[in-house]
Symmetry: C2
Subunit: 527 residues, 2 copies
């Protein structure tokens, strides 16, 4: 029997509070015992990745308390219930089924007579078939010329995740000869966004993917109109250049304005939709459906690991628990995501939405205010770039910011140079290893300017190469981490009521139905 | 006589502490008094911009205390001293002269017989002349074909600022017919960064700008080798395709490997170098030297406004003071930068370096530990994209994050569509106005999920259009804000000792001169 309780009502939370500042990283990472700790504090992930937490402020006592917390919070039971279609998104009275877009790990989920796994799989196959026909030249523009560019029109989860995944695999796909179409993205309602993209492409060879679950997202419909206008001005028929990704009940679903439509549903939150056809259509067109399928396999393999009740075998759950220890016991306000891979340049932006939109809440799943802090600020840029930017504050600032590194032993493009006796890839790896130790252990120096306090915790996920499978595993790891943290904080991680008020007020501004300060601010903006 | 004192030793700091949570935004922004406040709490900036702070948690009492703090901390005197060449960067014993790259506001600064304003101006003119000759087809590749693409190779300040400025003006330049060359950037030591860029361009038509002040930045030299390798493999002579931006004493300065070299010096910090030839060469090539000159004019006009001792006439100083009030009195841990302009998509990443690398420090300018918090975490993405991402946490999370909005009344490209009775530009403006009020005033709701607590402070900088002058003013505003905050916290904002330890350890890893945990982490990365 599952029960939903606030974090601070669980017995082990009190135990954990007594373990504040228990571990000195400088101590536990010193000498050969430090090397042994690196080997031991490792959890295998899917697709050859592993989660390493030797530079986190945990020891056997803290881990024992975290395991107890996981058990008391019934983390795996709640995950099982989610997988089997329970209404976990209680605020909106919805199931939460994004894991089902990539595999079936729980009981069959049948809604209104429809097996949802079969439904998602059918949409994936429809996207695969469509992409193959585009690639084969069966689906072309009005004059029989092949499409060369796919342009996704969407915002939020219809943009950040798919865009981050596209950038993550672009170099890999080129190096593996499977690159078929260039992808571009239009998201912002700022008309300069669409104008900038349209100026760069040959619209006559573009296939536009309009993504809106409800079919009513104002930014997306506005950008659709912008694009249609450009197509018409170029003498082209928009209906020959557009497909829709939407829900079956949306006004877009059966519109003649699109070549075809692909479906998602209310059980897939926007920020969890990269493995649904929100990501599937654009990624299948860009790289081929086989690559997208491999991406899904990585994700579902990682989802399977999240089922283990043992925190030392469940990387997402352990990561989530350590994050709660850092946030609620250690009191750290933010987390930096630092991939040492240029391909992951927009992965932190995706995680920013995933995490902050899911767990940036102050009422629990029953609508009661919680008396502890919840989701932290998430930010990040790829290393080594970040080293030459904000790492100064991370090393020597007055706040401690926990760090989440990602690194790979091989690059994607397979091209490298050796300078001063080492390849670029070796330099990249050397830098992240060095940073972990610099953050953890610091350095005494007689010159206080050059003194590094250390005791800045970090974890690192390491793999051989950023392949489609590895990317899928990485994505699922963070999705599941956020889910487990939501369970720990007793939040509904799957709604986003906090975005509504701004929408309502913006409509009032556009209708000129305002007064006072809102009227004054609108006037500043020329409205 | 200037004296340097810690923030908490200034009498008005005590006064300010008594004014914690003094202002309720919901109260002060309500009714017609709220509209009057919006009109009154405004400071004009250069280039038609203005800084609006009606939605900040200040009133006449707080402003009076902030004015007293500015006076006691001698903010304008310190700025005057900096402008006139005093050694403000005491740790490295260097002057701080980036404002001099765009205009002369203080006394003449003569170093070793060289007038520094004349020196920077000469470098700007050299870059302008070079760009004109490239555009005129006088400087071409080996076979007489014009260069079409400029590729900047640099990292940190040699990358983030110039890249953000390029993206900020790309659409504007196209719409104004002054677009001459496409720019690309290679920064990361990850070999996939250079490989990705080189795959996209015709190297035979590329001019590479190698930027390294010392001439020894490992990432940059490595990427130079990567590019030279690619040029040679294409049968091209690298020396015909490369220029250097460096200091006169660097090994690159007189090398025959470059067509020519442009100079900066030790008085220009990397993160403050966008208005030096670090930004000047690439931006003059991309858009023409006249555009770069206009950008400098905007910056120096804003610098001039920063001279006023009256906080209500000095936008950067007021912004800095309010930031310190939020950080040290209100206790907020981070600041979000939210430009409602797609062109400013990478401006937050630049500010992240500018701010966090300058003021992420825990010792004062005398090397003594400070007992108060200093620089906050800085992050951000363009609106409206952010609204569909992390705004959930900003509205309803457990921490209050102050917000820095930027908006414009006109777009850059001059193309727009009207949907549901309004243009995209109007929707963009309506959204930012709505967000300011939603954050400030919140909304009561019987459903606690839909309850918005409000009292989240924000400021907004508004202008007509993001022109080169406006961009220069915006850049200088934030540079000067960071400078004033450094004065308030009594930090040296112009060194970055926190980046050194990682470099030292990375070299040891590459030399295989490690043991213990560092050896073990290196092995994980395959080294």
């Amino acid at each position: 029997m599952i029960s939903w309780n606030n974090l601070n009502t669980l017995p082990s939370f009190g135990k954990l509070q007594s373990l504040r500042n228990k571990v000195s990283l400088r101590e536990v990472l010193s000498g050969e015992a430090g090397a042994a700790r690196v080997a031991e504090y490792t959890v295998p992930m899917a697709a050859g990745l592993a989660y390493h937490y030797a530079a986190k402020q945990v020891d056997e006592d803290v881990l024992e308390a975290l395991q107890a917390l996981a058990d008391e919070a019934q983390l795996t039971e709640k995950y099982q219930a989610l997988l089997s279609g329970e209404v976990i998104n209680t605020g909106e009275k919805r199931r939460v089924l994004h894991q089902l877009t990539r595999g079936q790990l729980g009981d069959a989920v049948v809604v209104d007579g429809v097996d949802k796994r079969a439904f998602y799989k059918a949409q994936q196959e429809k996207a695969a078939d469509f992409a193959r026909r585009v690639h084969a030249g069966e689906i072309t523009n009005e004059v029989g010329k092949p499409f060369t560019t796919v342009v996704q029109i969407g915002i939020g989860g219809s943009d950040l995740g798919p865009r981050a995944m596209y950038l993550a695999l672009e170099n890999w796909a080129k190096a593996h000869g499977c690159f078929r179409m260039t992808a571009r993205f239009i998201s912002n309602v700022d008309p300069d966004d669409a104008a900038g993209v349209l100026q760069d492409v040959d619209v006559s060879r573009c296939l536009f993917v309009l993504v809106s679950k409800s079919g009513t997202t104002l930014e997306t419909l506005t950008n659709e109109a912008f694009v249609k206008d450009a197509l018409q001005k170029a003498g082209l028929d928009p209906a020959c250049h557009m497909v829709a990704v939407t829900s079956e009940t949306s006004p877009l679903a059966s519109s003649k304005d699109y070549l075809t439509a692909f479906f998602m549903d209310d059980f897939i939150g926007g920020r969890y939709s990269s493995t649904s056809c929100v990501g599937g259509v654009v990624l299948s067109l860009a790289f081929g459906p086989e690559v997208f399928d491999r991406f899904l396999h990585g994700a579902t393999a990682e989802d399977a690991l999240s089922l283990s009740p043992d925190i030392r075998e469940n990387p997402a759950m352990l990561d989530a628990l350590i994050g709660v220890y850092e946030r609620n016991i250690q009191g750290y306000p933010a987390t930096a995501v630092l991939p040492y891979s240029q391909a992951l340049s927009r992965f932190p932006a995706h995680l920013q939405q995933l995490d902050m939109e899911s767990n940036g809440k102050q009422v629990n799943r029953f609508g009661e205010p919680v008396s502890y802090v919840t989701g932290p600020v998430i930010f990040g840029e790829p290393g080594t770039n970040g080293q030459h930017s904000f790492y100064q504050l991370l090393h020597q600032g007055t706040d401690i910011i926990p760090l989440q590194f990602v690194g790979f032993r091989q690059n994607q493009a397979g091209v490298d140079v050796e300078i001063q006796g080492s390849t670029s890839q070796a330099k990249l790896g050397a830098n992240v290893a060095a940073q972990i130790m610099a953050f953890a252990c610091g350095k005494e120096d007689a010159n206080p300017n050059k003194h590094f306090p250390g005791e800045r915790p970090s974890s690192i996920i390491v793999g051989d190469q950023l392949t489609p499978e590895a990317l899928g595993a990485l994505l699922a790891h963070f999705e599941n981490k956020v889910m487990f943290q939501g369970f720990l904080w007793n939040l509904n991680s799957f709604d986003q009521e906090g975005v509504q008020l701004g929408k309502v007020l913006a409509k009032r501004v556009l209708a000129h139905d305002t007064d006072g300060a809102l009227r004054a601010f609108s006037a500043l903006l020329g409205i």
